[in-house]
């Protein structure tokens, strides 16, 4: 990403700051989505394609669809459990 655009050496005005920050947020969201996609493909290939045939057959497609849903469930569960844990730990510390 190009952080160097904008007036050289000058202070950034608040509009370009906001623009920069929303670009960064978008890039982060994109990177997270890509990570999830890549993991899903990897995990569901492993679970569903034991012997790669000439096409992705019907049962394989069903398996992959189900696997993707379960992977999302797992992601959400992990993030919920982690969030609860963070809350517990931070209330214990304060």
């Amino acid at each position: 990403m190009d952080f160097s655009s904008g007036p050289p050496g000058g202070k950034m005005d608040s509009a370009s700051k906001e623009q920069l920050m929303s670009q960064v947020k978008q890039q982060i969201a994109l990177a997270n989505a890509q990570e999830l996609l890549q993991k899903m493909s990897e995990k569901c290939y492993k679970k569903c394609i034991s012997k790669p045939g000439t096409t992705l057959d019907n049962s394989e497609q069903k398996c992959i669809a189900m696997c993707m849903d379960r992977y999302m469930d797992t992601w959400n569960l992990v993030s919920r459990v982690y969030g609860q844990r963070l809350q517990r730990e931070s209330s214990r510390m304060s």
């Binding site: 982060i28 999830l36 679970k47 992990v78 459990v81 214990r92």
Partner: protein, 94 residues
């Protein structure tokens, strides 16, 4: 990049997003590990056995991370620094 980072507002934003991304990175990692540890053949829903396994998996992963940091803490602080506050909840910071 350095010009934008000199701005305290932008710097605060970057720190916040970096912290958020650490959490997200850990969620991706734990999802990966706990999926491998807990998931059999994906079915139509996340069954309670798998769900429990994932919850335990996340909590034990975080326990392990805490344990490692806490056990190494005296070494890092050195024998003379026993008055240092004991760190806890390492995954809040690492």
């Amino acid at each position: 990049m350095s010009a934008a980072l000199q701005d305290p507002y932008v710097r605060r934003f970057v720190n916040q997003e970096t912290q958020k991304q650490r959490f997200h990175g850990l969620i991706h990692e734990m999802t990966d590990r706990c999926w491998e540890a807990c998931m059999g053949n994906p079915s139509t829903k996340l069954d309670s056995k798998t769900e429990n396994c994932i919850k335990n998996c996340v909590d034990r992963f975080l326990d392990t991370s805490n344990f490692v940091v806490n056990r190494l803490e005296p070494m890092r602080a050195g024998p003379s620094a026993s008055s240092q506050p004991k760190s806890s909840g390492s995954f809040l910071y690492n």
